[in-house]
Structure formats: structure tokens, C-alpha cells
Symmetry: D2
Subunit: 149 residues, 4 copies
């Protein structure tokens, strides 16, 4: 069972804006990429086409708090923690840390949150359904101490 | 004095993802575009290079709640309301409405929020400063009834 | 019958990069948006789901030549011209003009090209097929003089 | 001296579009990321702020030919080759290979091209200048056999 996942990436030029920093919308793409890496680490893909009807995980809530800017070629560590697990809903907390170029201490640049719902989509209609038990069995809520830190 | 702004746009192909709907991160780009249109409607640009040192409005908080999917070629109305105005901080509430193709009732697809801080950036250092009085004088908080609806 | 289409848009903040100009990849999104507007102006959508199997227009070639930078809040006119029309293939030429803020002469900022193929996609397999005659009948190649200008 | 660089990345969800494949504009972002990795492999950054006035490498030409679709979670190898090196100009050729999930043969999904010019930008004006000799000394044109393959 797993309750966290860490992704490290380097900021790309196309992710910056004219203010010289990562455009704020890209933090949401980073969160999603970490989420999908988390499923992959459990042996799943977010695209569950082998279910009939196929399942997906649309987002119902997304939020981000920005503390420091992130710049081109910065190395950022995106840390995902499972904050809440319900029958049809998963809630993730994220921390974005800028890793120092020459050793030293990592800086917290942002925190985020994502709430996703498991849905089946036969045709146009989407309907919330329980997360498949094979996947749910592998996910657990992170310890309170970790979530609070 | 103004407390709201409305932007209408048509969903572009490159804004969709493989789930066939607008990628959730694009709602944040839509919010920002409405915010910049709001400043423009007041005779300002978000880029205030004519101040010395130049001013900017980095985001410190962004959030979105998704209710219904938005699809390619849908027409979406983004409605900005000023929710809070402080000396150095502005907080905006957003509503995303899908306009019906053939008359009928607009559907609420999402709500959002953006908090921005006025900063001066001489060199690398950014420092929160009061919003220029010329701009602040034109912005007022929307009536409670509007914000609650 | 139509051989051209013009789209005007204002550069958005999220389309810029840390060099302070529109990121070069966004010119390709602009071209595609003009192409889709062209189909819409003829009464069609690029998504042809009412055919069985459904049709689409994947790109096989895209190119752009950049002459001048485009900046935040610039107004850009994207001009599409049909350069070549074959049974299964359409080739478009594009010109990007920056419209002057206070009258004056528009500046050519870039030229581009897009080649798209009509395909049917039953299942995973895509196969080139003739452009539907209803659509093909409305598209014609632009006069040589226009293409050369 | 170096004449090539290889970057491997996994396709992210936000890079796909409603056709279920990587949006064609993203191949240009992939090319640029490989180009910047190439400079970094030589000990440089594309942002040369330590020169006075600072130098940059805006694109003057970009092109891509698409052969096969690339999908979510595909692993793609982006191969950069130096095709031409002039005093102020570099021209790169790219190959995009989809790496097979379970061994087997890599598939060519696209080829591309990027031409960049070295410019100095003191103030608003940009002017083409020679590539710094420290960087130019490390870059060489790839063997004809490699470029032709």
C-alpha cells in the first residue's frame, strides 16, 4: 500500500512567462503528472480502458498556493500525499520544493490540492462509481504527521 | 468604479485533452485572461512598466471547482467579480457559464478564485507594495448579493 | 466557395515566455484555430462525428518562419489561404500581421504552413479518405497573386 | 565537440488533445527542450545573462513532419543533430522515435527542424551577433551519413 509519490523535473523554457517565472497554471499540470506517476507506480494507468464501461478520474477541485517563484532550469520536486480516500473520491495534497543547485536546503515554493472522482463514461453520460478494488486496495491515506508537516 | 468583467470565448482544439474535454489547467488561463481584460477595461495593463520600479501582480492563490465538462467549440462566458480589495491584495471570484448553442439556459460549468498581490520588482527581489491609487480608485468590491448568487 | 479566412486575436499573458515574447510553439496553435474557424465559416466542424466512421484532419506537416516578435496584448491578424487542394489533402498558407495600436501600417511578424489529411478512424486504425464532397465543394485554391504577395 | 543530443520523455496527459494523441504543437516544445538540454550538456544555458548585453537564441524557422501518432504514456526519444553551423546561426534536425513498451523496434513518429539565431538584446532592439566562441568551439556539424539516415 502506498500513500505518497515523488516526481523530480526541470523547468522548461515553454513553461515560463514574460514575468520570467513558471506560469501559475503549470503547477496544475505538474500536480497531474505526479498523480499519474503515482498510479503507474502502483501498476495502473489513469486511463482504465480495460474496464467496461471505461473508467476515468476527472478533477472536481484544484487549488494552489504560491510562496516563491520557480524559474527556467530550476529543479523542482513535486511531492504527492494521499490526504483522503473515499469510495469514489481521492484527495491529494502536494508540496513543490525547489532543489538547490549546489547542495544546501530545498525551498518550499508552493503547496497544492487536487480532488478527483472515479467515473464510468458509457457514451456521453458520466457517473461517479466506486474506485476499482484492485486500485483502492493499494492506496492508503498518509500519516497525519506527514500531512501536517 | 467597476467590480465585474465578462469575457466570452470559444473553446479551442488545443485546449482539450484525450478525455475530450477542456484540460482543467486551462480554466486558470481563462481566469487570468478575464483578469487582464478587467484591467484593460479600466485603462490599465497588468504590466505596469511605467512605474519605477515596475509593478506586477503575481498570483498567491488559485482555485477552481469543476461541475460540468466544457468541450471543443463550446462558447464559455467567464464572469469576474471583485470579492476583496485590500491595500496590496485583490481577490477575484469567477463563474464559468456554458452558453447554449440554440438559445436556452446557460449552464454553470465551474467556479474559481484568484488572489493576486501587487509587487514591485527592482532586480531579483519582489516586494509587496500598495496598488497604485489611480488603479485602486477604479476598483470596488462587488455587492454581496452578486457574490452570493 | 471560399479560399481564405481571417482571425484576429489579442496575445494572452500565458502565451508569452521569459524572453518576453509569444512562445514560438503558439503560432501553430494560432494557425489551427484559424483553420477551424475556416471550416466553421463554411458550416462545418473539424470534428466530423456525423460520418461513419468519423472523419478527422490530422496534420502531416507544419512550418513557421518568424520575422518579428509578438508581445503581450499585441493584436495579431492570422490570415489563412488555401494553397493546395487534393482529393485527401489540404495545404494552407498563413500570414501573421501585427495590427498597429494607433493606426499606421500592419507589420508581417511570421508566415506559416499547414498540411492536413482527411482520415477515417474506425477503431485504432486511421486511413486517408477523400474529403467529403459537401465540404470539398466549398473550398477552392486562392488566386496565385494572393499566394505570392 | 558535440554534434548530437538525445532526450527521452514520457508523454503527459496535458499534452494530448481530444483526438487522443499528442497535440502537434507540442512536438515543437519537445524540440526546444532537447536543444536546451544540448546546450546544458556543453556547460551552457540558452539564457546567456553573463554576457553584456545578454544573448539569446530566438527561432527563425521551425518545421515538423508527422508520420505516426504519439499517445499518452508513450515513451519518446527525441534525437537532435547539428545540421548546419554558421557564425550567427545554428540549424538542428530532429527525429522522434517511439520506444516500444516491451522491447522490439523503435518507430519513427516524426522528424523536425529548428533554425536559431544568436542575438544580443540591449533594450528593445535585437541584433544578430556571432555565437560566443566558447560555445561555438564545442559545437560541430553531424556527419553527413548520420544526417541522411
Amino acid at each position: 500500500m502506498a500513500s505518497e509519490f515523488t516526481l523530480v523535473r526541470r523547468v522548461e523554457f515553454s513553461e515560463t512567462d514574460m514575468a520570467g517565472i513558471v506560469h501559475f497554471s503549470n503547477f496544475f499540470r505538474y500536480m497531474e503528472t505526479a498523480e499519474h506517476g503515482f498510479y503507474r507506480s502502483l501498476g495502473f494507468s489513469v486511463i482504465m480502458d480495460n474496464f467496461d464501461p471505461p473508467l476515468g478520474f476527472p478533477r472536481v477541485h484544484a487549488a494552489c498556493d504560491y510562496k516563491r517563484p520557480l524559474r527556467f532550469e530550476d529543479t523542482v520536486e513535486i511531492h504527492l500525499l494521499v490526504k483522503e480516500k473515499r469510495s469514489r473520491v481521492l484527495n491529494y495534497a502536494f508540496r513543490f520544493l525547489k532543489l538547490p543547485a549546489n547542495g544546501g536546503v530545498a525551498e518550499l515554493v508552493a503547496t497544492g490540492e487536487l480532488t478527483v472522482v472515479c467515473v464510468s463514461h458509457g457514451g456521453e453520460k458520466m457517473e461517479a462509481v466506486p474506485i476499482p478494488s484492485e486500485l483502492a486496495a493499494k492506496i492508503e491515506v498518509a500519516p497525519a504527521a506527514l500531512l501536517a508537516s
